[in-house]
């Protein structure tokens, strides 16, 4: 497969291919727009979003294609918070040159919100910072209030 997006079950191309850029695949259904916004992709870039596509592995999936932009380690880390099973393909001249599985980093800064509504980071303009206590299940400890935010209650900064 190249940078072209296919429906897994039928291997039928349903979204046009990209020549140079990044494909973020295997996102949980309903997360693609949120992740694209989080990564700041909704500005000048050409972005194609696929939602609720069939997936042999996960049943349904979302995906994002972005033309002309090569995502790196910081973006992979952010994606991992909402989509721990995501894969990222870097496409150059219509061929996949790099395939990566994302991973939650040891420290997460400025991306997520503390689930403790009384935390100073939710009350004043304080950049959030978390220490990853567990990756599976995802548990992140707020550097400020010590609250353990679980993966299912995780919200990203808008």
């Amino acid at each position: 497969m190249t940078g072209q997006i296919q429906d897994d079950s039928k291997k039928k191309l349903i979204v046009s291919p990209i020549e140079n850029g990044t494909v973020v695949d295997h996102l949980p259904p309903g997360t693609a727009v949120k992740i694209a916004q989080m990564l700041g992709l909704m500005g000048d870039s050409i972005v194609i979003i696929g939602q609720n596509l069939k997936s042999t592995k996960f049943g349904r999936k979302d995906l994002i294609k972005v033309e002309g932009k090569f995502l790196g380690e910081p973006e992979f880390n952010k994606i991992a918070l909402l989509a721990p099973n995501a894969t990222v393909n870097i496409v150059r001249d219509s061929a996949i040159t790099e395939k990566r599985h994302v991973a939650v980093p040891d420290f997460v800064e400025r991306v997520a919100l503390c689930a403790n509504t009384n935390c100073i980071t939710n009350k004043e303009n304080v950049p959030t910072r978390f220490i990853t206590a567990s990756r599976s299940p995802l548990i992140m400890v707020c550097n400020y209030c010590g609250y353990e935010t679980k993966g299912e209650e995780l919200k990203l900064k808008g």
Binding site: C114, N116, N118, C119, I120, T121, K123, E124, N125, V126, V141, C142, N143, Y144, C145, G146, Y147, E148
Partner: protein, 315 residues
């Protein structure tokens, strides 16, 4: 670990050796008296955004007793906080006037944020101003825990392996949170007595599990009082309930009276961070097991020791 310029934000930042150093200096003050020139020429700022009697007055007493001047505000009224000033700007400003800041603030994590602000100032060439938390929201109250542990040491001759029952508002009670963290270093057996809606938060029981500390949850005081070395009573904190109807469901649910103390060991000590409302009846005050007023008194030597340490006057 060296104490000079150290922030006191979470009890989890302190080892047993650190705490023993604080207890040792506090014990020296209590036994031999205070050196009234220890902090001469130093100034301590007390920034209390929330009401306080014991924490503020014992810190003020402690600072002045060992020679420091104090400046303070009690409640944001009369300050620029009422005009919308952020915690950051207030800390940045007051740090110019003082050598240490005692902070009580309603938001969880505010003490850690304040400590970060005074550390950042040092990159601009300013001296570090240590932040000592006097309680941050429902999060922690580390200096209360230090005096609680010191009170246990005085009354039981040890802190190690005590059977401690914590009763009341365990969800919002920051003193209970800090004390639970601290007792995990001392192989304590913890019994949490509270209505379901006010039980100890899961992130604290997870922490205790990771430390291998035995703990259990109960709904009746009678189930735990006979075996306890320490009964730690707390007030249901009306001010932290988002809904007053929820508060009304649980207020007055737990009460210890003199007659209930007959089931306890003679060596048991009844502690309370205070203020109390009605959770300990007045007739218990004269029971030899009642220790809460002496406990509050222990705040002065403990806080004097801590100030002397973080301001570099003691090794």
């Amino acid at each position: 670990m060296n104490f000079t310029n150290r922030d006191v934000v979470s009890i989890k930042d302190f080892s047993k050796q650190d705490l023993e150093k604080v207890f040792s200096i506090a014990g020296g003050f209590a036994k031999n008296g205070y050196d009234r020139k220890l902090l001469k020429g130093k100034r301590v700022g007390l920034l209390f955004y929330e009401p306080s009697t014991r924490t503020r007055m014992s810190f003020d007493t402690a600072a002045q007793t060992i020679g420091a001047d104090t400046i303070w505000f009690a409640g944001p009224e009369g300050t620029s906080v009422m005009k919308g000033e952020t915690l950051k700007d207030t800390i940045e400003t007051v740090a110019n006037y003082v050598d240490a800041i005692i902070l009580r603030h309603p938001f969880d994590g505010s003490a850690r944020w304040a400590a970060e602000i005074t550390t950042r100032r040092t990159r601009r060439g300013a001296p570090k101003v240590p932040i000592i938390s006097g309680g941050d929201g429902k999060n922690e109250h580390p200096t209360q825990t230090m005096l609680d542990l010191y009170s246990m040491l005085i009354t039981q001759g040890r802190i190690e392996s005590l059977n401690v029952a914590l009763i009341g508002d365990l969800k919002y009670g920051r003193t209970v949170h800090s004390l639970s963290y601290a007792l995990s270093m001392y192989n304590a057996r913890l019994s949490f007595v509270a209505p379901d809606m006010l039980q100890i938060p899961s992130h604290i029981t997870s922490f205790l599990d990771r430390c291998g500390i035995k703990h259990s949850e109960h709904s009746r005081i009678e189930d735990v009082i006979a075996d306890a070395d320490i009964v730690y009573m707390t007030r249901i904190q009306k001010e932290r309930f988002p809904d007053e109807n929820e508060y009304n469901k649980v207020k007055g649910l737990y009460r210890i009276s003199k007659s209930m103390l007959s089931a306890a060991k003679p060596t048991m000590r009844l502690m309370h961070p205070l203020p109390r409302v009605d959770e300990i009846t007045l007739d218990a005050d004269d029971d030899p097991r009642a220790y809460y007023f002496q406990q509050a008194g222990n705040g002065v030597p403990i806080r004097a020791a801590l100030l002397a340490l973080v301001m570099g006057a003691c090794e």
